[in-house]
Amino acid sequence: MDDFLPRALLGGFGVALTAGPLGTFIVWRRMAYFGDTLAHSGLLGVVLGTALGVDPELGVVATCLAVALALVLLQRQRRLATDTLLGILAHTTLSLGLVALAFLETVRVDLVSYLFGDILSINATDLCWIWGGNLLALGVLAWLWRPLLAATVHEDLAHVEGVPVFPVRLAFMLLIAIVIAVAMKVVGILLITSLLIIPAAAARRFARSPEGMAILASAFGCAAIGLGLWASLRWDTPAGPSVVVAATILFALGSAAPSHWQR
C-alpha cells in the first residue's frame, strides 16, 4: 500500500485534534459564521503569500487576522449588524482572492485543492505545518482555557473578575486563523468550518462538562477523518467532502442515540 494514506490520516488527525476544542468555543460563542468568513478570506491569503514569495500558510494567518481586526473595527461603528458585516467580508475576500489569482500568471495555484482540500496529497512538509500549527494552537488554547470560558459565559462579569477580555478575544481569533491556515490542505477553505462545528455539535449530547465536550469533539473529528478517508477510497469520492459527510453522519447518529446516553 502507498504511504499517502498514513500521511493523510496523520494530517487529518492533527487538524481534528485542535478543531475539536476550538470548535466547541465557536459553537458556544455562536461564531460559526465568523469562522466561515475567516476561512473564505483564506484564498486571498494563499494568493498574497504566493505573490510575496512567503509560505501560503503565513499569508492565510495574516489575512485572517486582518479580516478579524477589520470586523472588530466595523462592529465598533454599530452601523450594520454583525451578520451583514460578515457576509460582506466573506464574499469580498473570497472574490478578491479569485481576482488576485487571475493576476498571478506566472504561478500556478490549484484552485480546487484550496477550495475543497487535497488531503491525499499531504506531504512531509505539510505534516510539519499541520502538527506544528495545531500543537501550538492547542497549547495556547489550554493556557487560555479558563479566561476564555469565563469570557464566553459573560464578558462583563469576566472583565470585572479580572479577565483581560479583549486580548483573550484577539488570541482566540488568532487561534482560529492558525487552524484555518493549516486545515486548508485537509478539507479546503469552503469546508473548514464544518470540521470545527459539526464534531462539537455532535459531542454536545454526550458531554457533562466543557472539557468533556472538547475532548469528545476531538474524538468525533478524528473518527470523521478516518471514516471519510475510508469511504473516499472505497467509493472513489472526493476526500474532503467525504470527511464532512462522515462528520454529519456521526452527528445524526448521535442525535438519534437513546436519551439515557445523554449528558
Binding site: V27, W28, R29, R30, R146, L149, A150, T152, V153, H154, D156, L157, A158, H159, V160, E161, A200, A201, R204, A207, R208, S209, P210, G212, M213, R263
Partner: protein, 252 residues
C-alpha cells in the same frame, strides 16, 4: 467598626452620540451600607453601573475606588448558551479558583446548595440569581454591585432575596450598590436611595425619597401609591356582558 468609603462617584457625565445619558452624577458607597440606584427604564442606571465597574469610560468626572477594593458583580440577565455543558458548581468557580468546600459553603449561604450539580440552564430565575450571588461572594468582595438582582424572580423569592442581601451586609460588612427600577421593592433593605433619570432627581433615605416631589413627578402618583403594601394592576376590562375585552394602551 467605622464605615469606610469604598466608592466615590464624582460629577460623572456620559453621552452617546451627543445625547446626554448621565449628567453630573455624584454619590458614594461606604462599607456596611446599601445604596440603591432607582429610576425608570432608560434612566441610565446600567450605564452608570458599567462606569462604576470600569467597563465604560465616563466623558467627564471620576470614579474613585478604595485601593485594593474587591468587587463582586452580579450582572443583569445572564443566559448561558444551551450548547455549553456547565453545572452550577462550575459556573460559580469560573471567576475564582476555590476548593469544593468553599463552593458548597457559598451556595449554602445563598440558599442554592440544592442545585450544586444541576446544569446552569435548568435552574429557575431565583436560583440563577442566587448562583450569581454565590459567585460574587466567592471573591470575598468589599463591595457588591447588583444590577436588578430580583429580575425574573417570583414575588416570594424577591422578598427572600432582599432579606438575603440584607443579611450579607450584616454578616460580611460589605458595601452594596444595587440597581432597581422600583423603589418599593428596595425600600426596606436600603439605607440610601439615589433616584436617577439621566441626572440625580433626588437622593436620601428611602422614606424621604418616596415623599420627594421629584420622585413623585418621575414615577407619578400611581408609582408612589405602589409603596402601599398591596397593589394590583388591571390588565383587562370587562364589557357589559362580563366578557374580557382588551384594554387600549394608555401609554399610546
Amino acid at each position: 467598626m467605622p464605615a469606610k468609603t469604598l466608592l466615590t462617584v464624582e460629577n460623572i457625565d456620559f453621552a452617546i452620540r451627543g445625547n446626554p445619558i448621565l449628567q453630573n452624577i455624584t454619590f458614594r458607597v461606604a462599607s456596611g451600607e446599601i445604596v440603591a440606584l432607582i429610576g425608570p427604564n432608560g434612566a441610565g442606571k446600567s450605564t452608570l453601573v458599567r462606569i462604576v465597574l470600569g467597563l465604560l469610560r465616563p466623558h467627564g468626572g471620576r470614579v474613585w475606588l478604595q485601593p485594593g477594593l474587591r468587587i463582586g458583580y452580579m450582572p443583569q440577565r445572564l443566559t448561558v448558551d444551551d450548547t455549553l455543558p456547565l453545572t452550577v458548581q462550575r459556573f460559580v468557580t469560573l471567576g475564582t479558583r476555590v476548593p469544593r468546600e468553599r463552593v458548597r459553603a457559598a451556595l449554602a449561604e445563598v440558599g442554592a446548595i440544592r442545585v450544586l450539580d444541576s446544569p446552569i440552564q435548568a435552574i429557575s430565575g431565583g436560583e440563577l440569581q442566587r448562583a450569581l450571588l454565590a459567585r460574587a461572594l466567592l471573591r470575598e468582595p468589599d463591595l457588591l454591585v447588583l444590577d436588578e438582582p430580583i429580575q425574573g424572580v417570583d414575588v416570594n423569592g424577591q422578598y427572600e432575596l432582599y432579606e438575603l442581601i440584607g443579611n450579607l451586609r450584616r454578616n460580611r460588612g460589605c458595601g452594596i450598590l444595587m440597581v432597581s427600577h422600583e423603589l418599593h421593592l428596595v425600600m426596606a433593605a436600603t439605607d440610601h436611595v439615589v433616584c436617577l433619570n439621566r441626572h440625580i432627581c433626588c437622593s436620601g433615605h428611602p422614606e424621604h425619597v418616596a415623599r420627594d416631589p421629584a420622585y413623585l413627578e418621575l414615577f407619578g402618583i400611581e408609582g408612589a401609591r405602589t409603596l402601599a403594601i398591596y397593589h394590583h394592576h388591571h390588565n383587562h376590562r370587562h364589557d357589559l356582558h362580563g366578557a374580557v375585552v382588551a384594554e387600549r394602551n394608555r401609554d399610546g
